[in-house]
Amino acid sequence: MSMITPPPDPATVEVIQEAAQVDPGTLTAVEAAELGLTPAAKPRSMLRRGWEVFAENRLALTSVVLVVLIAGFCYIGPLIYHTNQVNTNLANYLCRPSAAHPLGCNDVGYDQLGRLMVGGQTSLEVGLAAAIVAVLIGTLYGALSGFIGGSVDSFMMRVVDAGLSLPYIMVIIILSVIFHPSTITMIFIIAVFYWLGVARLVRGETLTLRTREYVQAVKVLGGNRSRAITRHIVPNAIGTIIVQATFAVADSILILSGLGFLGYGIQAPATDWGSMLSNGVTYLQSADYWWLIYPPGIAIILTCIAFNFIGDALRDAFETRLQRR
């Protein structure tokens, strides 16, 4: 990794300015170099430095490529490989993989390969959307709580404690019984519990950030609370937030698949990888219907591993103390 150039110190800047004033235009780059004055490099931003650390991690880069490929498979795939994923066709009942159906068919005659694409769309959409909703709510709640402090913070955090003490799987099951399971309701049902953990983390981050000089300076300069939170605290906690969001995607996909197994997931004819898998595992013990089980299972595992690797690498990238300087 290249060395990070420190920002120019004020004295150097003054010398450059003086030189420029005395004899403008004659100080060439060569002369400047002779005087020991190098043009000041623009200090690299946190995101840029983070990216450099991230890009060094080959495993993480492979994971990004993998996620892009999976997304391409799910969204571009159906444009090339047309299948009917709405009407059942019992003539194709559990047909074996063949040229017409590379991954065979399931128990109501849907083409497995096409279904893997459609199901993947749901899994990815629910995973991403639930992560975004949870992280947005959690970040704002946590930042507000940590920034206000005092008894308000204390109460807001007890609410989070209580929420985190509820057995989330039971809460999610009850919520799925209450609300008709669809893509949209699934997103909110998963986000309802996931924002709590994010709120706690961001609040911790805020507590350390709000005593920093630059946040104090906002107050002195007359900036209001929302400015301090949205312009200073959240951007500085963004590392923690993005890492959490990445893990949240993997977790949401897993929770959705678990709900599918219990029968509270996405309802047919729509599907997700988890519902496909739980549909397939009913044939696990009876015969060798591998195409019903392994494709969706491997799809879930690959996607979740990829997001976990990306999250790990992002954490390394944003943890400045781990960066070699």
């Binding site: 007890r158 003490s165 799987i169 009850i174 678990g258 029968g263 509270y264 879930i300 595992i301």
Partner: protein, 304 residues
């Protein structure tokens, strides 16, 4: 603490109260008339304001009355008393196995980081994170109960704890499935925790004073990393419950998780309420216990 308990019970009641049609509709069925439902609502006090209901409910809880499941023709307390010990067996065994494997292997990974062994174990942990528990459980059944019939494909049968414990062979697969996810959690955490501690000043001091590597690792680093495991243990109680739910459903293990999922299918109002509130309150106390354990293990932490 009291505030958290209050909020936990309140959230639980409000959540279960949101179930479609309310408790009476779930009980008397879809053909009941509005008048009949109103009659039973009044009889059981479901027409009263929520804070009155909350007060009465908590008062009953404190007296050990968790309600009665008409669907099971059994009081919720006796149901929980029957199922909870079995879930505790599963959770305790799974925790034990995963900690015994996860802590030493996590330390090994940190000491021998970026070697082949570390990469292989990292791969296994990530698999543990990414595999849905139900899928892994079913694969275990397929591989080790059907393809190679080593273990029975179902959990121990029987009503009492003694009967469950008398079938250790049937416990192997459920406990393995349960421990896999937890193993990933502990070993991953241990690895990063030990790596953090390896560069601390106190380790350098210990080495400078001539302590052997073995002593540095087990006397200093291990103790410090263990402290954070205790906190993590407290925080992951809800995940322990979630894992137990799926393992119990797959293996038909007669514990709380299976009882809960069955109750959710039947919309068995009192059972859902009872199991959720017991689990939630247990989690609150588990967190408290973790805090106390933290203070015991770490002399720097003192709660005033």
């Amino acid at each position: 603490m009291l505030l958290v308990l209050f909020l936990v019970t309140l959230f639980t009641l409000l959540l279960v109260r949101l179930l479609p049609g309310g408790p009476i509709r779930a009980l008397v069925g879809p053909r009941a008339t509005v008048a009949q439902i109103a009659y039973y609502n009044q009889l059981y006090g479901f027409d009263q304001p929520i804070y009155v209901q909350y007060g009465k409910w908590v008062w009953q809880l404190l007296q050990g009355n968790f309600g009665y499941s008409v669907k099971l023709n059994q009081s919720v307390v006796s149901l929980i008393a029957n199922k909870l010990p079995k879930t505790i067996i599963l959770v305790a065994l799974g925790l034990m196995v995963s900690l015994i494997l996860g802590i030493p292997l996590g330390i090994y990974q940190a000491v021998r980081r970026y070697t082949v062994g570390d990469y292989v174990l990292t791969g296994i942990s990530f698999l543990g994170y990414a595999t849905p528990t139900f899928f892994f459980s079913l694969l275990l059944i397929q591989w080790f109960a059907i393809d190679i019939p080593l273990f029975p494909p179902f959990a121990p049968t029987g009503d009492t704890v003694a009967q469950v414990l008398s079938q250790p062979k049937a416990l192997v697969l459920p406990v393995t499935a349960y421990a896999f996810l937890l193993y990933a959690l502990w070993s991953r955490f241990m690895r990063s925790s030990v790596m953090d501690n390896l560069v601390q000043d106190y380790v350098r001091t210990a080495r400078a004073k001539g302590a052997s590597e073995r002593r540095v690792l087990w006397g200093h680093i291990f103790r410090n990393s263990l402290i954070s495991i205790v906190t993590l243990l407290g925080l992951s109680l809800p995940s322990l419950v979630a894992g137990a739910v799926f393992v119990e459903v797959v293996f038909n293990y007669p514990g709380m998780g299976l009882a809960f999922v069955t109750a959710a299918g039947n919309v068995d109002y009192q059972v859902l309420l009872g199991i959720t509130v017991v689990t939630a309150v247990a989690t609150v106390f588990g967190n408290l216990l973790a805090d106390v354990g933290y203070a015991v293990l770490d002399p720097r932490v003192r709660y005033s």
